[in-house]
């Protein structure tokens, strides 16, 4: 297992470098001069040159690249060129909100999705299964800003059960929780739809296996066969796909935060876009890169826990 962990850690390095390179390329392929884009067309040449020097844009491209990689890897994500605050300060301030939202959504997604998927697979092609499939397809089809607005309209404006705005006071647990319910439901329901589908199809494949029939034939209670033998083997594809889902989750959380006006990475990124805060955008993308690489790493390590074969491979 220890070799497996080391190997995964080593394998994450090139991925991280590659993602960082992607960020660098994306930011540089923009036609035109970022300095002019930031300052506007009427900026004086002197101002443009000063900004270029400040951003390091006057140096050769490979030097910019090496500097960028070096800074990113040493955890220096730069600072906002609008407020001059380090990006990590701004991000650190909203992390509790983002974590609240993400963890709550994952809980909702798993608690609804896994049992629903297993249940649907066990009743394949019966009414329950058809309903589960249709509902999960509808859930997947909702862009989160649409479902968020619909939930907002229904529960905050029509029935007035939950507050409209989500800027919670972190010190007040009741406030924190009530303001979390609608955003977490928005994000969690899409995730539940996704997990239902993946669990169902993974279970269907496993249910056909001979060892399931054998376990049943030798008298193991069916409930135990499903949960012990079935779900454990269906777990691997589920974890894989849920790991892949993180990219979608990040995008969805941005939209959710906008709809519910919650502080979070999403709001920061949109603010940076509106203010053309070029260094902030780059820094945020670098932070996303680290996030993705870490999640991929965790996914791989979870494999090792679920599937003993992986460790030796």
């Amino acid at each position: 297992m220890i070799f497996y962990v080391i190997r995964r850690l080593l394998a994450a390095i090139p991925t991280l470098l590659a993602v960082l390179t992607l960020v660098f390329v994306i930011v540089r392929i923009v036609p035109g001069d970022p300095a002019i884009a930031i300052l506007g067309d009427r900026a004086t040449p002197a101002a443009v040159a000063a900004l270029q020097a400040k951003l390091g844009l006057d140096r050769p491209i490979w030097e910019q690249y090496v500097t960028f990689l070096g800074r990113s890897l040493s955890g220096d994500f730069g600072s906002s060129m609008v407020t001059n605050r380090p990006i990590l300060t701004d991000v650190g301030a909203v992390i509790p909100h983002t974590l609240d939202l993400t963890i709550a959504a994952m809980l909702i997604g798993t608690i609804i999705g896994v049992p629903a998927g297993v249940w649907a697979a066990l009743h394949r092609n019966r009414a329950i299964d058809v309903a589960a499939r249709l509902l999960s397809l509808i859930g997947l089809s909702f862009p989160v800003f649409v479902s968020g607005i619909f939930l907002l309209l229904a529960f905050a404006l029509h029935w007035r059960i939950f507050p409209v705005i989500g800027n919670a006071n972190l010190a007040d647990p009741v406030d924190r929780l009530t303001k979390l319910v609608l955003p977490a439901a928005t994000l969690g329901l899409v995730m539940a739809a996704y997990i239902t589908r993946v669990t169902r199809s993974a279970m269907l494949q496993v249910l056909d296996e001979d060892y399931m029939r054998t376990a049943r034939a030798k008298g193991v209670p069916w409930r135990r066969v499903v949960w012990r033998h079935g779900l454990r083997n269906a777990g691997l594809p589920v974890v894989t796909v849920v790991g892949l889902y993180v990219g979608i989750l990040i995008g969805n959380s941005v939209l959710t935060e906008i709809v519910f006006n919650r502080p979070g990475l999403g709001k920061i990124i949109v603010g940076a876009l509106n203010q053309r805060d070029y260094t902030m955008l780059q820094g945020l993308m670098v932070i996303y890169c680290f996030l993705i690489v870490v999640v991929n790493l965790l996914t791989d390590l979870t494999y090792g826990l679920i599937d003993p074969r992986v460790k030796q491979a």
Partner: protein
């Protein structure tokens, strides 16, 4: 085809898609009003009466804007996914066919693109390039290239080991002929099935970008843009958010249902997975 439409999921999905496509194509003739014509006197009219789905803050007819907005959604979805299929499909096919280190490297690059959150990628590309239709298509196509490279590569890996490919080489066929005449027809259906599912994603991404304010510029009607305007007036005029939301849902759901049905038809064992 007949068998496909007997599947109720596909049938409903196809009907939803046809309704939207017809609405988009016939918009100039069936839309009751001009989608960008402002009318101060008719501001924020609730649904019913002269305006079936009401009017927005500028007095524009919501129904007409939804019909015209369908055009943007469909144009962006079709062109971006078609380009992603062409570029990503070609990358995946060639990469899988060549194999070895080249394939390993290309797929590593694709994995990196795949792991990057697609909405964030699209958001930043559009923000940097400017909110134009072409840039939207480019951004969404960019996010879909990697998945299509993967989808196209997988079957090529097994097909190239088949004896008929070796036979082609023994007969002196060029690699291009083997790849495009012999392997390509065997993967088209798989790629197209994923195409309809990814079109659903493209519609969602376009709407999301428009909602954030990075869509085709106003006053052009887009569904995401309408949601954005409606969201600002949500206390006074909830219909401004509800109807475009339903339109987006109809199209995305329709495309997903068709894609699901197609996949069931190509691989019955995975029914509904």
């Amino acid at each position: 085809m007949k068998r496909l439409l007997q599947n109720p999921t596909t049938l409903v999905g196809a009907i939803l898609c046809v309704i939207i496509v017809l609405g988009a194509v016939l918009a100039p003739w069936i839309a009751p009003y001009d989608p960008v014509d402002q009318s101060i006197l008719d501001r924020l009219q609730p649904p019913g009466g002269a305006f079936l789905l009401g009017t927005d803050t500028y007095g524009r007819d919501v129904l007409s804007r939804i019909l015209w907005g369908a055009r943007i959604s469909l144009i962006v979805a079709v062109t971006s996914i078609a380009s992603a299929i062409l570029v990503g499909g070609a990358i995946g096919m060639v990469s899988g066919y060549i194999g070895g280190r080249v394939d390993l490297f290309i797929m590593q690059v694709m994995d990196v693109m795949l792991s990057f959150p697609s909405l964030i990628l699209g958001l930043i590309v559009v923000a940097l390039l400017g909110p134009e239709l072409v840039n939207l298509v480019f951004a969404i196509a960019l996010t879909a290239i990697a998945p299509f490279a993967r989808i196209a590569r997988a079957p090529v890996l097994s097909l190239k080991e088949r004896a008929f490919v070796e036979a082609g080489r023994a007969l002196g066929f060029s690699h291009a002929r083997v790849l495009f005449v012999h392997i390509l027809p065997n993967i088209v259906s798989e790629v197209l099935v994923m195409g309809s599912l990814w079109m659903a994603t493209a519609v969602r991404t376009e709407a999301s970008l428009s909602f954030i304010g990075l869509g085709v510029k106003p006053p052009t009607a887009t569904w995401g843009g309408m949601m954005r305007d409606g969201f600002e007036a949500i206390l006074d005029a909830p219909w401004l958010s509800i109807f475009p939301g339903i339109a987006i849902l109809m199209l995305v759901l329709g495309l997903n249902m068709v894609g699901d049905g197609l996949r069931d038809a190509t691989d019955p064992k995975l029914s509904g997975t």
